[in-house]
């Protein structure tokens, strides 16, 4: 199975081309933010150096969110259009789960963390098993203080993963003491190779058209509007003419 895996949820851009669990080519770039310009360019280069053609691919795996809205749309648009146009499998995985793949110790609790600014996090809690990370607390958009309260029910060590953990490290350490654990260097970055290998085991998306980013957050305009119009969605507002 030839797999293309991609994560552009935050500042890092990570792309990998695999054949089953064999990594053919992989790249992670952290120095730029123009995923819209670099993602397809990197994919083109890596597929070429892997000595494959686009049509050789069997599956595309993307980190679906949460994260930067634009970044998520780049990965999700690539994933859904590639899957649709080549008639290949599509797998979307949580960008937070993707980060927790960097921790391999079975039984360990992992809290992948993105800074959503204003003391708010995109985060979730996973437990590492032999079949990969299993969700313990769902991915959410939550204030730092509220999140500490949720984590207080666990009297064991938690590994916080992600480049943004540094922004909260002192407060996490103060709160959790020796139960606070972190990782260093490359383990704070999403690794598309790991995302691809994990994604090979996951069930593909059945309806590609409805595949969209997990923003975990309504737009401000919509949330204001929904307060006035409870219970109404937004998809039905688009129509072909």
């Amino acid at each position: 199975m030839k797999v293309l895996a991609l994560d552009t949820s935050n500042r890092p851009l990570s792309v990998s081309v695999l054949n089953y669990d064999k990594v053919l080519a992989t790249t992670t770039i952290t120095t730029q933010r123009k995923h819209a310009a670099y993602a397809m360019q990197t994919i083109e280069d890596l597929v070429k150096v892997a000595k494959l053609k686009p049509s050789d691919l069997d599956r595309v795996v993307v980190a679906q969110g949460p994260g930067s809205y634009t970044g998520l749309r780049v990965a999700v648009t690539i994933g859904k259009v590639l899957s649709d146009t080549l008639k290949i499998d599509l797998v979307g995985i949580s960008s937070l789960l993707a980060l927790s793949l960097n921790v391999e110790k079975e039984g360990q609790l992992v809290a992948p963390t993105f800074d959503a600014r204003n003391d708010i996090l995109f985060t979730g809690l996973y437990r590492i098993t032999s079949n990969g990370p299993k969700s313990v607390l769902p991915d959410q958009h939550i204030s730092f203080e509220e999140w500490l309260k949720q984590l207080d029910q666990f009297d064991e060590s938690i590994v916080f993963v992600g480049e943004d953990v540094a922004n909260f490290k002192a407060r996490l350490q103060a709160h959790f003491g020796t139960n606070f654990k972190s990782v260093v260097g490359i383990d704070n970055l999403p690794q598309a190779a790991r995302i691809g290998i994990y994604g090979e085991q996951q069930r593909p998306v059945s309806d590609i058209d409805t595949f969209v980013p997990d923003y975990l957050r309504l737009t401000q305009a919509e949330s204001d509007w929904q307060k006035l119009h409870p219970g109404e969605g937004h998809e039905s507002y688009v129509e072909q003419v």
């Binding site: 123009k34 360019q41 859904k80 259009v81 923003y215 119009h229 937004h234 507002y237």
Partner: protein, 344 residues
């Protein structure tokens, strides 16, 4: 066997319409799927960029498959993939650009970048091929500009709005009249029922350049209505609409006619969303009848944003060597070059 025909798959997602089309030889619309978000943005009184981007990603594969199916073509029939890369909303542009790049790469097809304004102008290329030199007035919710085309493939701006686009002004005064976005069609209708009694200012009508300005008109309109509200006077809404539309049309038409004096074109093109405005079409009909120039209006169903017009422009651009690679990015402020100001 070499495919003799040009068959372009085109994408357009620069604002609040997700559109995919298949265009044969730049002239024949095999399909033109347009999913409009108007109802969604009406909730907010105007286009919310983040909401627009989210809708594009919901619609993109649906529109793509509908366009191919309706055209009865497969990827192996195509000779290129075209995409609007600016001007427009960056988040919206990116969904279409990314989709177009994926399709072009997956099927190893040339990628043709298209300026949205060139697309609007080429909406007139279906009924009859554009004859050069041509002068185009492109008016919509996002743009108001005069474009000089000395020959095929050359686009030069000779004037543009200094503030609001004409269509944007319609939406803003529409709000004051209690008309939901987009207000253009209803204001146009009301303008045919009233009289120009308010004598709103015609900004820059006397200036030498070909630039437009609508913010003074907008303020005068809003002040007039607010003042009447304060003294509990009731103004005739149709008269307000007529007076407003007359001022907009006077500015657009007088600048366009002066541009024609300086840039003698074989053909005068009216394109963009506001090109559907009946008052503007009628007035230009009258003015241009007196001149030795052919007046070409974008077909009503192709005035708004759509991918068919992008495919038509792309066919011409591809003949002139336009192509992009996988590094293509959105250019939200994309503009044609300005024409040289030889004289004065």
């Amino acid at each position: 066997m070499k495919n003799e025909n040009s068959l372009i798959l085109s994408f357009e997602t620069s604002c609040d319409e997700t559109s995919v089309a298949v265009i044969k030889n730049g002239k024949e619309i095999l399909s033109n799927i347009v999913a409009t978000q108007i109802k969604s943005h009406q909730r907010f009184g105007g286009v919310v960029p983040e909401v627009a981007s989210r809708h594009h990603i919901e619609q993109i594969t649906i529109c793509l498959n509908d366009a191919l199916q309706k055209a009865g073509v497969t990827y192996s029939d195509l000779t290129g993939v075209a995409i609007t890369y600016g001007p427009g909303l960056v988040g919206s542009l990116l969904v279409g650009i990314t989709a177009a790049k994926v399709v072009a790469w997956a099927h190893q097809l040339p990628l043709i970048p298209v300026n949205h304004i060139a697309g609007h102008i080429y909406a007139t290329n279906f009924d009859h091929p554009i004859e050069f030199p041509a002068l185009a007035l492109v008016v919509s919710g996002g743009h108001t500009e005069l474009v000089w085309m000395p020959k095929e493939g050359e686009f030069k701006i000779i004037g543009e709005t200094r503030d609001d686009a004409a269509g944007e002004t319609y939406d803003k005064i529409g709000r004051v009249l209690g008309i939901n976005y987009p207000a253009g069609p209803q204001v146009d209708q009301m303008a045919h029922l009233g009289h120009d009694t308010f004598a709103f200012p015609r900004a820059m009508e006397k200036n030498d350049n070909f630039d437009f300005s609508f913010s003074g008109l907008k303020s005068a309109f809003i002040n007039t209505v607010h003042h009447a509200d304060q003294i509990n006077a009731t103004l005739d809404k149709n008269d307000l609409a007529t007076s407003f539309q007359q001022a907009v049309i006077d500015v657009l038409v007088s600048k366009a006619m002066r541009a024609l004096d300086k840039y003698p074109a074989k053909e005068f093109i009216l394109a963009g969303g506001v090109a559907a405005n009946r008052g503007l079409r009628e007035r230009l009909d009258q003015e241009l009848e007196k001149r030795d120039v052919e007046f070409v209006k974008a077909p009503l169903k192709l005035c708004g944003d759509n991918a068919a017009m992008i495919g038509a422009a792309a066919e011409m651009l591809q003949r002139h060597g336009a192509k992009a690679d996988m590094s293509l990015n959105a250019n939200p402020g994309l503009e044609f070059e300005w024409a040289e100001n030889e004289e004065e």
